[in-house]
Assembly symmetry: D2
């Protein structure tokens, strides 16, 4: 029996409230889509099979280098975090897996697994941390980790990643995500080539420790925390890494880790074409790695990314199963609400991409009919698929309006009463 963090009758009562309007909307959309020769239930079924992992760190309030302003009922540790993640999955039915971060979530694997199982949760990719120093860590990552000039520091970083694999193996995870902040703040501070050689050498050691059925994801980022150069700065470097390491190595695309104006969906297409797309860290951004809620700033961009994924399916790309994860910083919202909303937005983009008339699109592309090609995408995109998303949630035991249901449940007040207040204060600047 799965433990429910929100009582089933609360969900039921809320669904009752919205049920009639929802039924009308779903029926109307079904009729509209049938006029476009689309079977709404086929779409709904596909959407119901799409999942995105939630990051354990995402259920805590995030911050900037200037400050962190905690909310009420902040999770005290990974067990609380799993509880919060279970709420998200209960209401959305879209997030059955949690992505852990070591050492932040380091606990007895058996206890972790038991707690997660009881909540109906599993474990997605493991995340290592070599961008900050854990207490009592012998070597500091101030000047890098896998690419550090000092061999002992590199060794420590390699060992930490191997430990993450071991923990993940115990938990049933099948992938390791490696993001390092290594880089430099001054021209000349590091030698680009030597740093990257050291990075590749360290990654090769980690790769050797990878079980046969695991994948390793390297993640690129243009800048931050390093502000002049970053060792894994873009998808070009990321591709070189995956290609150098071997067939279990793939590139992870975080939507916020690119240069201004970058055409991200094209990078996605390239990585698919060359067999190296590992998956995503979903979020949205306007300036840099803003880690805002998925779809909140440029929802059409998110749709265009999913358009590539559905197109790859449509073209029958072999062995293509990207990992979908959220990676956001919830600074001004209740993190549970943001993750509920973001999971929906991600499914929304997927549902919209499923509506694209690909046969027509192929024809317009072949004929250089740019306007109608664009219109074919826009027509799918502007379809309001919320009734499909809601229906999928309801059918899986989730909520038609999950944020309203969450609020109605009083979950946040309940945990706020149990969990002591968290400290805020300045961020990294002092």
């Amino acid at each position: 029996m799965m433990e429910l963090r929100i009582a089933a009758d609360i969900v039921e009562a809320e669904n009752q409230k919205h049920g009639e309007a929802h039924d009308a909307d779903y029926a109307a959309l079904g009729e509209h889509l049938s006029r476009r020769n689309i079977d709404i239930d086929v779409v709904a079924k596909k959407v119901s099979e799409f999942f995105v992992a939630v990051p354990s760190w995402g259920v805590g309030t995030g911050g900037t280098r200037f400050a962190r302003f905690p909310g009420k009922g902040e999770p005290r540790g990974i067990f609380d975090k799993l509880d919060d993640c279970a709420v998200i999955n209960q209401l959305t039915s879209a997030t059955p897996n949690v992505s852990l971060h070591i050492p932040w979530d380091k606990e007895d694997p058996k206890a972790l697994k038991a707690h997660a199982s009881a909540l109906g949760l599993g474990f997605d990719a493991m995340n290592s941390n070599t961008f900050s120093d854990a207490p009592d860590q012998p070597h500091s990552y101030k000047y890098g980790s896998l690419s550090h000039a000092d061999a002992a520091t590199r060794r420590q970083a390699v060992d930490h990643n191997i430990e993450c694999i071991e923990i993940g193996t115990a938990l049933g995870s099948k992938a390791l995500t490696v993001w390092v902040g290594d880089g430099s703040n001054f021209p000349g501070q590091s030698n680009f080539t030597k740093s990257f050689e050291r990075y590749l050498s360290g990654m090769a050691e980690i790769y050797k420790a990878l079980p046969d059925d695991w994948r390793i994801f390297s993640e690129h980022k243009m800048y931050e925390p390093a502000f002049y150069s970053t060792v894994v700065q873009d998808w070009g470097t990321n591709y070189l890494i995956a290609n150098t390491l071997g067939e279990k190595a793939f590139c992870l695309v975080d939507l916020g880790h690119h240069a201004p104006n970058t055409n991200i969906e094209m990078i996605v297409a390239r990585l698919i074409q060359f067999g190296k797309l590992g998956g995503f860290h979903f979020n949205d951004s306007k300036y840099g790695d803003d880690d805002l809620d998925a779809g909140s700033i440029d929802p059409y961009r998110l749709f265009l990314v999913f358009n590539e994924l559905v197109d790859a399916d449509h073209r029958g790309v072999k062995g293509f199963h990207p990992a979908h994860m959220i990676d956001q910083s919830h600074n001004v919202t209740d993190p549970i609400e943001s993750l509920i909303s973001s999971a929906n937005e991600i499914r929304r983009a997927y549902a919209q991409a499923l509506l694209v008339d690909r046969m027509a699109l192929d024809g317009f592309q072949q004929d250089n009919d740019a306007l109608m090609a664009s219109d074919t995408l826009k027509r799918a995109y502007r379809t309001d698929v919320e009734p499909i998303l809601a229906e999928v949630r309801r059918r899986a035991g989730g909520a038609i309006d999950p944020v309203a249901t969450y609020r109605a449940s009083g979950y946040r007040a309940k945990v706020a009463a149990e969990r002591p207040e968290s400290k805020g204060g300045s961020g990294g600047i002092i």
Copy 2:
């Protein structure tokens, strides 16, 4: 009797084809909106009163400095251009006014006015040109126009603008849009302060020539054709211009003229707040002043701009009547199709913005409920308002599916037979 460039029965026949599905969509949307306490006909009426001007130069195929690839049936001059503009307005009912560009469109004003009237068209803001040299022009604008170091060149630029006002007065226009490409390609090439003083002095002379019921719009742009500095580079400088000149002077916002990542809707809000928003040049862009079709790249951004306009209406801002114009470069599409589509996209953003529940939004803003505030905008945005747009077109004699109707009409083939082929070749590079 208005001359129709596309026979009414063609439009009628096409509308018949789409009529049934459209009626069903409109009815379903009406029911959905009524569940949200919105009267679809009230929205439709507002949309039907929203117009956007078409630029005369937009009906010709655009190009880049590398090449221009003309299409078939390119307009030979302003009379052909007006014919093309009439097609757009006939099918969309959204573009009754044309914005002229002098000297490109310089013809006998009486003849112009008669031709336009017969087509049911009027004239929007006049556009001067001091970014290229007209044949036989005594002084070159190679090194600037209104800000040129040489007084005679400045005089010529001032006189040209005054001539534009005179032509516009004869045509019934009520505004002059001034965009200059003045700037520099090298640090040191021009003195920022002296250049701007000269610009302001020239604009003051033009301002003096402005009839009482006219407005003058200055347009800023970050770069291009100047690549190191631009005299009117951003809205800050633009505001200083409008503020220095006087109460008939306003700032024009072209959506593509900003730095990467700029929050354009906030600039719109600031200019409204300080009484200086003159209007828009609508288009879309991904990199620079790409002049792509409105809403084709980032439709949510376009919505957010309209959200500010509707919010200003909602707040009852006095004397607020921004001028809406399209300014795009149609390099790979039939320009008529792009302008039809863009006019629709602009109305779409407006219609979506009308659906925002502003009472709820105010409450969420007051309560710092960021998630629900965002959701309130998204809920309006994701509503598929195409049935409203189509209904408004149909009611005004336009087309339910204007691009399909345009294609069915054979207009392009007809004018291609009449108008000689246009030359392409290299752009500005050689």
Copy 3:
């Protein structure tokens, strides 16, 4: 008698080491400049009269939201910070004033003043903090400060700024710098217009509390910590603030607070022209508000900013006395070394700008001789003025090679022995 934190004989010994080479370099440069009709001693004198303030927070190791990696001997409080600042000024003779940050540096003003005086230091602009919550603060700034929707929070922020003025008055400061992080992370979260109205109203109250001989500087920033919109987002808004408040209100330009590709020197010119340039926060950046060491990334840009300042002097702009401050985050260097180096780089840019042949430049600008105008700036810029900087330092009792001298002094090891180790750990993210 001024207390020296580094023994005079250490400086002397180091200067001896470098003296001969320096003398030769200075003589050679003097001869070279005299061939260009420039008197090296006139330049040296002007440089010796140029100062830049050091921020108290800059002598601590900075960090990012991901981590802070402290160095050895981190200052424990403002008294230690003043000691560190004194070292910088002793070796560079360029930084006699310190800019304080309240509440971080809140101590008994008398004690502060006495400590500073003994070290030969004075106080520059005061900085308020409403971007993070101080312990026991009744109202949180999570959702803004001066622009907050809640009146009590705004009142608290106003009062805090007034307190900063009072403390500054006691210390002999003459300016208040106001930077707020207020903004939003989601479209819709805040109403741009209402937020800005509230901000202006709060600033007006602070302005009223300003002594007659004080100035108030508002600082704009494109983004961070808010990632969708920022209330004071650019110089356009900043100008509106200064213009609305009155003649004691000025705009502060932080070199890292602009959109990508922005021509910052042109903003400087515009603010000078309209009488509203208050001063600078110097630093360098490649991506966002990276807060890197001044001149480390794009030294020519720094020169071009100073070119505007020297040009304004050359044109005899009235009442022009911008405040020069450093604002950097020293994440991977000894902060004292970075500040020494940065003060030198700032003086370097000034010295280079003094070498511009402005008569020739005026002529080239008048003649549109872009190449020679550019070359005139480049010729000044590429002159290696280090001998002038070194000579100015030496004559004022500072070091020919200040970083080497600092290292030779053993200051860092000494304070590391006295000051307990500082904690690092994660930044704002958790």
Copy 4:
């Protein structure tokens, strides 16, 4: 006997004028460098062996899509262009090779070779053109060339490139540079994957036609002329191309073809590390592909690129011989002067990079002494190496002050009398 376009005695007379000051500067610099243990003559010799190719199209005045403002004496064709190139090489001794553009420079190869030889010039990489339509070309490149959906258009583009190889072979060139503008202006217009497959397939055919001792350079560019997506959009895609094609295929880096804020020198390092750096198109830029004069906007960035090249030499990278070419658009200067100046700036960056104390730098990097590592680069960079550049020019028969000498020669007036005036007018926009 080489034909001189500028009489030797004019050069001689000008060199006399500047000789004394130059000798003093050179001597002083030599002494200064010897104090840094650098032999000035060793540096001078290396600089004298560094060459950069001039583009034939660069000696004509460039323009933008808005306008082209021609100068006096514009070259009428490739023979005039070679004359102009000869002037640049005569005065700088840095540009013995010219890079041709087909079909613009298509003439009888024998006549071309004879003309060039007489002027002491050779031929660098050939450039194909599939970004504009040549008159009477059967298939248009409006919707792409090598990636076009239509096979016949692709065939035409392949054949054109093969023809470029044939012409180049006749001329003694050893490389083909392929830049295509292929891309799209609308999401959906083209299928990213299929387009790139077609591109790769076309390039493979061209590659097969490559003589054994030739190299092929593919050039990436973020955007323009396509404004939504570009087939070869960044170095990641460019690497995939070179890697797919084979060992004669390399990536060309144009300094202006990157996303805002990109760390270009790091891309250079990566391509060197993976054996795929083919060479450069040098220029400078502030916003996009501005094609401004090399070193005019961010000279430190140019230095950092050369720092990577010299570092690669220092590390003894095998088979490393990148091709150096200028690619600029001279819109407001005499193109000959801009190319003279740019060749000097490029050599300047090289000379500065030669001065870096690499042993010290290695040590600072190993020790994570970021400040001193940065200072080591800055120390080299801020050395005014103009005396070395001038000396190298003089020793090779060039001019101490080449722009002044060019002006003194009256070359422009002479060719203006011979060559008819060129037309300006609008660029690509209409």
